[in-house]
């Protein structure tokens, strides 16, 4: 009930200023229970001043210029917009309908050079669904196409960072990272065993220091060679999907030997080598609910992984339950990690500032901090709780529609019998 009233108030207030004008991106949120990583921290009864789509000020004693629109949060939590990782948002519509899948290539000529930025679909029905989960930015990652078993494809390709704001262009930053998979699945794509894959990867990385030649031993195309060059210099991070503790150690060795800036993804057995990951300064993208020993790669998978890695000093980002339709589950997953020992503040940070930091955009995104982009969510309760929901979401200061195709279908059929 309370949330409905709040939504109405917000709707009425936002209606006063047209969302299409720059003025709409200048407003103040008052009576906010600010909850953010970074210097502002937790402020009850705080005010957030948004100017031209950026945070102007945030805290307890913020002067609100006269004449600007006011959004009364009525004591509700206000957090940074959530920052999703390991997604395929904008690259998938229906998982089983091949024509809607743009996160992968079956090309024999490119793997590393595959770049997801060209396939993004701003009209995807998945974007509003994720946004209703408070998500405002997402890293979209290439996946592997395993339809051709003969194809040897070491790399999935290049990731991008998108905005979930309504509108034409959702690409925020291209070439955010290179993606590589190790473990059982990765090995199957490069020689059929871990030793084969890791050996060949070492050859490839060593070869990248020289110029590309047509007859290179590992069959790398010129486009792939060019795409990988910034990885070896540490200018583009390499996301490595990996599960087993022993494989994680191999990745850390690879990173050290070739000065690669590595981001681990998955890392279900990371807790077993937490100190080594921390010492290497390597961050981890993980799903705390990935606790099933679903293969011999991750027998040690545990709900406590997030808490143990955090305690060891590893920067972690928490993902949703799939790459597309269930990205919105990421905040519940953060809450579940909290239920198993992750500190509350670290849970929120793992879905806001930590991913922004890991992907090199923390100067712009990830926290409520003067100068940063005004990606915000106002909640009707604890943002990590499934019982809570956002009542307003802002991307670059723009209020977003609080509906999706799903909520529209719900409204169509929700009428109760009399």
């Amino acid at each position: 009930m309370k949330s409905n009233r709040l939504a109405l108030v917000l709707g009425a207030l936002l209606g006063l200023a047209s969302p299409q004008t720059a003025a709409a991106q200048t407003f103040a949120i008052t009576n906010a229970h600010i909850l953010t990583p970074g210097p502002v921290g937790e402020v009850e009864q705080g005010t957030i001043l948004v100017r031209d789509g950026r945070i102007g000020a945030a805290g307890r004693d913020v002067a609100v210029p006269s004449g600007i629109a006011i959004v009364d949060a009525r004591g509700g939590y206000v957090t940074p917009g959530l920052f999703a990782v390991n997604t395929a948002l904008g690259l998938v519509e229906v998982s089983s309908v091949d024509g809607t899948l743009d996160a992968r290539t079956a090309s024999l000529r490119i793997s590393a050079a595959f770049d997801v930025q060209y396939g993004l679909n701003p009209a995807s029905t998945l974007l509003p669904v994720a946004r209703l989960g408070g998500i405002t930015r997402a890293v979209v990652m290439p996946d592997h196409d395993d339809s051709n078993k003969e194809r040897e494809a070491p790399f999935a390709g290049k990731a991008a960072l998108i905005s979930l704001g309504e509108g034409g262009n959702i690409l925020y930053r291209a070439g955010t990272a290179m993606v590589l998979e190790l473990g059982e699945d990765g090995a199957a794509r490069l020689g059929g065993s871990r030793a084969s894959q890791l050996g060949q990867l070492r050859e490839i990385f060593a070869g990248l220091k020289g110029r590309w030649t047509q007859d290179n031993a590992w069959g790398l195309s010129e486009a792939d060679h060019r795409a990988l060059a910034p990885v070896v210099g540490g200018r583009m991070p390499l996301v490595v999907i990996v599960h087993r503790a022993a494989d994680i150690r191999q990745v850390l060795g690879l990173a050290r030997d070739f000065r690669i800036k590595v981001i681990l993804s998955g890392a279900e057995e990371g807790w077993q080598v937490a100190d080594e990951i921390a010492a290497a300064g390597v961050p981890v993208l993980l799903n705390p609910t990935s606790n099933i020993p679903s293969s011999f790669d991750l027998l040690g998978a545990s709900l406590r992984n997030a808490a143990i890695l955090h305690r060891a000093g590893v920067v972690i980002a928490i993902s949703g339950n799939d790459a597309g339709h269930r990205v919105r589950d990421m905040r519940y997953n953060a809450g579940l990690a909290v239920s198993r020992g992750l500190p509350q503040a670290a849970g929120l940070e793992a879905i806001t500032l930590a991913p922004a930091r890991i992907f090199g955009v923390a100067d712009q995104l990830g926290s409520i901090e003067p100068g940063k982009v005004a990606d915000l969510a106002i909640w009707d309760g604890d943002p990590l709780e499934a019982l809570s929901e956002p009542v307003a979401v802002y991307v670059s200061g723009k209020a977003q529609p609080m509906e999706s195709r799903g909520t529209q279908l719900g409204q169509r059929y929700a009428k109760r019998p009399d």
Partner: protein, 450 residues
């Protein structure tokens, strides 16, 4: 209420009345001292919440639930201050044991997918009791579950209702007296599986034709056995027809003794399947997954067919594209019996959180459902679907003491199932990690309890 009295026995069909059911349960409750949880908030799944309440369990049964329950001297007393008590969580759609972890080919025993008509297979003959996910589900408060065959086939085979207890044989897990169930599947899975191999069914109309032809055969089979039994009853000489395992199961459905669990996503297909039931005289106990059930809520209420579904899964195939979080709440507001199910290994550990998502979505859509009601989605209503609601699923005197003590409100993501009781036996206790049973697969391997 959507379901009538649940059958209490599972006669093997067409076995003679006196013959015991084959593959009988050898489950025995572990004897434990009488136990009282005091000072807890208790969601009974009968529509009420008792604050500062006590639940008393003795000899595997619930003896009393209320504010003024005297705890007998000598009973083990657990302080529930600040904590919550619910019935044991029940999952009406699981594949634990038949698609166990690790998910290697050698373990894939849930789909006899070489023929669309496999009513003759029984999921219990595939269950691997050492599946480590049983342990994890127990940590999520799951005390009973319906393990079903997969959905590749029109008739996938019989499901089996299990107690989530450590065991070496599946018989030790079988819920005594739980009715048999038949898994059926509509839509994309069967037509896709077989159509792509150049055989029927290749379309939805092919699916339905396949069902109808089978029910015609089943009715004829049932008639032959009825005629035989009549002659025998009269003392006339009669030769028993040859048993056919698949038709035996279908005939059991026609006699109302085997419960139909129908995997079906789309509203229009569910409506057709209800008419198939009308044509051949069987009832569908529940549609499973049923992500479009909200479009035919009134029809399902009239037919008294339950819905077992998710809140968060949608869009993974065409028939799931209209799946919405509000499904459960809309159905409940129309009087349909709703269960939140898992169908997967991760979700079975947190059906309480999935129910919370469904609850919040309802609130967003203007449908206010009390937690006292919503707790039934993961307790009493799945018990109805499985035909065991007379024995478990709610906290009432005389029912089996299947009980969870939560660290806090179970609809919270922070809630941990601290103690889990099955028929009064403490089978999971976070206070005593060393006591937590590990399956044989976990022994000597670094598999985490959580």
């Amino acid at each position: 209420m959507p379901l009538g009295a649940a059958p209490t026995e599972t006669p093997a069909l067409p076995a003679k009345a006196a013959a015991p059911a084959p593959y009988p349960s050898t489950y025995r409750a572990r004897p434990e001292p009488d136990t009282a949880i005091v000072n807890a908030s208790i969601l009974t799944a009968t529509g009420t919440r008792i604050d500062n309440g006590t639940i008393l369990m003795a000899q595997g049964r619930i003896v009393a639930v209320g504010r003024d329950v005297a705890v007998p001297a000598g009973a083990r007393t657990i302080d529930g201050t600040g904590k919550w008590v619910t019935p044991g969580i029940i999952d009406s759609h699981s594949h634990l044991g038949v698609f166990p972890a690790p998910g290697v080919d050698g373990h894939a025993d849930g789909n006899e997918n070489i023929d669309p008509y496999t009513a003759h297979v029984w999921a219990e003959h595939s269950v691997w009791p050492q599946d480590p996910v049983f342990t994890k589900a127990r940590a999520g408060g799951v005390t009973s579950l319906l393990v079903l065959p997969g959905s590749a086939n029109l008739f996938g085979g019989r499901g089996v209702t299990l107690r989530n207890v450590p065991a070496v044989t599946v018989q030790q897990m079988k819920f005594p007296g739980a009715p048999a169930t038949l898994k059926m599947a509509c839509g994309e899975n069967p037509k896709g599986r077989y159509g792509s191999r150049g055989r029927a069914p290749a379309t939805r109309m092919g699916n339905v034709a396949g069902f109808r032809r089978s029910w015609i055969d089943a009715a004829e089979y049932a008639r032959k056995w009825d005629a035989y039994e009549r002659k025998r009853a009269k003392g006339e000489p009669a030769e028993a027809p040859k048993r056919d395992l698949g038709l035996e199961t279908l005939a059991g459905v026609l006699k109302g003794e085997i419960l139909v669990q129908n995997h079906c996503y789309r509203a229009d297909e569910m409506a057709v399947m209800l008419d198939v039931g009308h044509e051949f005289g069987y009832r569908t106990t529940a549609f499973h997954h049923a992500v479009e059930a909200y479009k035919i809520a009134d029809l399902l209420a009239t037919e008294q067919t339950c819905v077992a579904t998710w809140a968060t899964r949608w869009g993974f195939k065409m028939e799931a594209f209209d799946g919405i979080e509000e499904n459960g709440a809309i159905l409940a507001s129309h009087g349909v019996c709703v269960a939140i199910h898992s169908d997967e290994q991760r979700l079975i550990q947190r059906l309480n959180v999935e129910a919370a998502v469904a609850l919040a979505a309802g609130r967003r859509a203007g449908i206010a459902i009390a937690q006292e009601e919503a707790i039934k989605w993961i307790t009493l209503n799945p018990a109805r679907i499985m035909g065991i609601a007379d024995r478990t699923g709610s906290l009432e005197p005389g029912k089996l003491a299947d009980v969870v003590l939560w660290s806090r409100n179970p609809f919270s993501v922070y809630a941990v199932a601290e103690k889990v009781f099955i028929e009064g036996a403490l089978v999971h206790d976070t206070e005593s990690p060393g006591s937590i049973y590990r399956s044989d697969f976990e022994v000597g391997q670094p598999v985490g309890v959580e």
